[in-house]
Each structure stands twice: as C-alpha cells, then as structure tokens.
Chain length 310, copies 2
Amino acid sequence: MYFEGSEKKFEVIARGAAFRTRPESYWATLVELAGAKILSKISNEACDAYLLSESSLFVWDDRLTMITCGRTTLARSAAYLLKDLPSLEFISFERKNESFPHQQETDFQKDVEILRQHTDGRAYRFGSPDEHHLFLYHMNKPFRPQGIDCTLEILMYNLQGQPSEIFHSGQTIERVRQLTRMDSIFPGFQIDDHLFHPCGYSLNAIKGSEYYTIHVTPEETGSYVSFETNVRLGNRIATALRAVVDVFQPRSFDVIYFHPEKELKSVDISPFIQLNYVRQSLNCGYEVGFSTYGQRVVEPQPAVALEFNP
Amino acid sequence: MYFEGSEKKFEVIARGAAFRTRPESYWATLVELAGAKILSKISNEACDAYLLSESSLFVWDDRLTMITCGRTTLARSAAYLLKDLPSLEFISFERKNESFPHQQETDFQKDVEILRQHTDGRAYRFGSPDEHHLFLYHMNKPFRPQGIDCTLEILMYNLQGQPSEIFHSGQTIERVRQLTRMDSIFPGFQIDDHLFHPCGYSLNAIKGSEYYTIHVTPEETGSYVSFETNVRLGNRIATALRAVVDVFQPRSFDVIYFHPEKELKSVDISPFIQLNYVRQSLNCGYEVGFSTYGQRVVEPQPAVALEFNP
C-alpha cells in the first residue's frame, strides 16, 4: 500500500445555511464518514478551520470546503451534508486522478452516482486519461459568485533536494515553518499546523474569510504537496505561484484555478514548460482552468527496485 | 468502461525449447488464458506471428514474445507456459501503467506474485507513480544475449489530426497501409494486419527472425498506438523513431529500449521535449531505458463532458 497524496475536494454554498451553528459532533460525524478524523480547530470571526488526519475542512456561515486525501470516501460526507440542505446554490466535487487508483474504494463515476442521488449535475474531465487530469462534478444550476470569489490550487509532484527531507517527524515544527516561509508569502494569517509521524505535514491558515492550506506527503514513492487558497491575488498570482513552487521544488506541478470571470493566463515559470492547458466555462458561474507544468530531463535516473512480499 | 490501450508484455528465452513444434491448440489455450483469441497467423522459416484479438504473439524456436492490451490477464498465460519449461534462460514481464487501472483484474504486484510461483525474479518501476511509468519483472539469473538482441518500443498517446480518424472500420485496409507508410520505413516484411470493428488496427510483420508490430486504439478517450520491433537499427534508431512518430502524430510518447550493451541516447525530436529518462542495468544481461517525451501546449483545450449513466 502506498499513500495517495492526491485529493478529493467538495465545496458547497447554501445561503442562509448557518453552517457554523452546527455542533462539533456534526462535523466529527461528517469527517468520519470520509474515513478521517478532526485533529484540531482554529476559528476567527468568519471561519472555522479544521485540520484533519487526511487534509482539511473549512466552514463559513454559508459555505464549506472539505479536502481529503489518501483512501478517503469524501462522496459519503458530501451525501450526508446534502441530505438536509434544502437551499443549495452551488456544489462542486473535484477529484484529481490518483497515482494508485486501484487502492481507492470508489472511482469518480461511483462518486458521481452518489452525488446524483442528491442533486442534478454535470461531470467533466480536464486533461487526457494518460496525463495528470482533474475530474469535476458541479450542480447544474446557474449561480453568480459574490465578488471576486476565486480559488487557486497548486499540486506539486516529486519534491527535489532539501524539501523532500524536511517534512519528517524528526524535524521541529518551527524549522518546517522557517523552511516553508509561508508567512513571508502570505503575511498575517492565523496558523494551525501539524507534523505527522513518521512523516507528513499539514497546515491551515485563516485571516477573515480568507484561507490557505498545505498538505505534504513526502513519501519516497510519489512525494506530493498540495497548496490551496482563496486569497484574492489579482495580479500577484504569477508571483505567488512562483514563490510556492520555489519553496517545494517539485519536478512537475498542476495549477487549478476557479474565477467568476477571468481565466488564468499561462505563466512563465522557468525552467518549467506548460505541457497541458484545459479550460472550461461552467454554467454554475465559474471559469475553470487546469494546467500541467513539467521540465526537461537533466540526467537519467535509475529505476526503483520494488520490494513486494513473496 | 474505456478501452485500455496500454499493454502487458511477456518474453521468454529457453534454449532447446522447440516452441514451434507445439500444436496450434497449445497456443490457442495460452492466448485464451489471457482472455484473448487468435485471429490469424503468418509464418516464415524462423518465426510464427499470431495476430490476437488483443495484440500479438511471436513464437521462435527458442523464444517467445506475447503482448496483450485491454483487460487481459497475461500473467496467467505466463504461468501456464512456465509450468513445463525446465531450461529457462531469460524471462521478462513488462506492464505499462494503465490509464484505467481500476478496470484491471490484477495489478503489477499480483502479477509478480503469480510469476514468483514459477521463478525467482526482480521487480522494478521505471518512472514516478504520477507520470508515465513502466513496471518490469525479470528472472534473477545471469544471461548473455546472443549478438545484438535489442528491442525498441514506442508508445504514443493522443493522436493529433488525421491519424485519429483513419483507423476506423469505414476505411479500407489498403488506405490504412498507405497512410501508415510502414513499408517505406521497414521494407521487405511479410504483413498480417486487421482493421477492427468499430475501430482499431493491428499489424504483425516478419522478415527472417525480425518483427515489428503495431496496435492502434483510436478511441477518443485515450487514443493510443504502440509500435515495437527487434530490427537491428544501429545508427538508424533516431531516424526510425522520428519516422514512426511522424506517421501517428501523438501529443506525447514513451520509448522503451532493451539492448545487451548500449543505452538509448537522448534523441532530439522537435517539437518534443524529453521529460523523463530512467535507465537501469539488469543482471539478466540487458540495459533498459524508459523515456517520456511531451510538448509545450499550443492552445487551451476544452474539458471533456462525461456521460455517466445515472
């Protein structure tokens, strides 16, 4: 069994839902249905941010974003939430293609079958089946996002050099924070982070209604980092993207961008080369882009010897 | 269900095995164990080439190469063959990572468990789990290949333009041959080819002990072509590689190369960029290289709407 870093993500907007009035036990059950646990929580006036054993849950008054990795069954949590939400405005369910999909309990098609029991929707694939690609299901209902409601996700693969070594439990969390330098890229956020045993690192950060979140799975077989934020970056997107990629030094990365109006322009991040770019207008009010960046090989690598038990 | 073009491949060398004296019923059973059928056969003084419902089987006096795609269970055929072969010299079992691995009956680890019941061996992964990669199992026994025993495999993904349209059963087989121009790249071969309904094309070609074989799965979801040959190309490898890639016009391709001594040099095939290169010396006598080539994105593509049954 290998650890699957790639995530599923569920987002709901239901105006008037008053999500934050629901008791802790409700969120504990929701998270357990995915096969995860709540580790800790931070709050401010706008948002509750739960750090999970497998990724994160962010709860605002009228919306919710839940991200889970590993072998979690996020569609079950989604179904639990949807069964008593009469005034839905927007739903999206994302699933990045996995590196080890045969270890998953469901595939995207089964997830869609679960979600369709609660809401009519449309399903898309961003990218070719043989390449990095994103599955996306959204509720089939016109929606006008409020203001500049954007999300930037950066999925990074095969950390090179030092970053692959710093996310093990032998480190102190202060040292990890120093090395990730997030406070200099996104200053003024309240932080909740966790170093896992024997390895792995998760971080939730909130400031008003804004968040960013980081999940690192440094396992040698398929090291992976996801970064996600709803910070309104405007013209600073390319700068932020470059800064995050600089910290984690992946061999390749994907960018996912949701915005009510704008598409993400191609970004020049030398030495990376944009290998794929899929964009789609959704009738639920968002422009969505998915892009993969790789780089020219520098020198040959040896094959990896696999130690299967006989 | 999508059609999986990616192949599994099994190769055996057993001097004195006299494989070609085995009756047709033996090969029919061997092929059926993988879940495939023999469609046709051509022969010359050195080789019998069977065209299968899922790829190909080549049989020489002392060696055998079987390639199967789709949801086939090639490890079962391998186990059937191995149970009565006392004088084994060389075994390799390759499995390209699939685009739809959750549709497969086994994964590579299970295949290795089956093979280990008959022979001790080593398992490798060429490439990262998130990228195109190759699994390889080989018998753990020193072996000295005779002469220049090399194999070139070219795996091509996402055919662009005309090639994606010419492999449907509305075409004549003469037109397909004209368009693939193989006779000008590899002249003088005896050909056996088949156009599948509603789409797909397979070709076996032999000349003395040399072969090449082509399998096209032009399905819109994950179009794919594999080309493989044991022709001793020497300095003509780059030229042949360029010629084959020119015919099928993929968006990306992998190259796998087996040679007793030489590694495959990086090849400049503009506009393709070498994104990955893994090479490994195996103690069974071969240098093996696996390389992936992609290209810079030219313009954004729309997402693909998925029509799952509710």
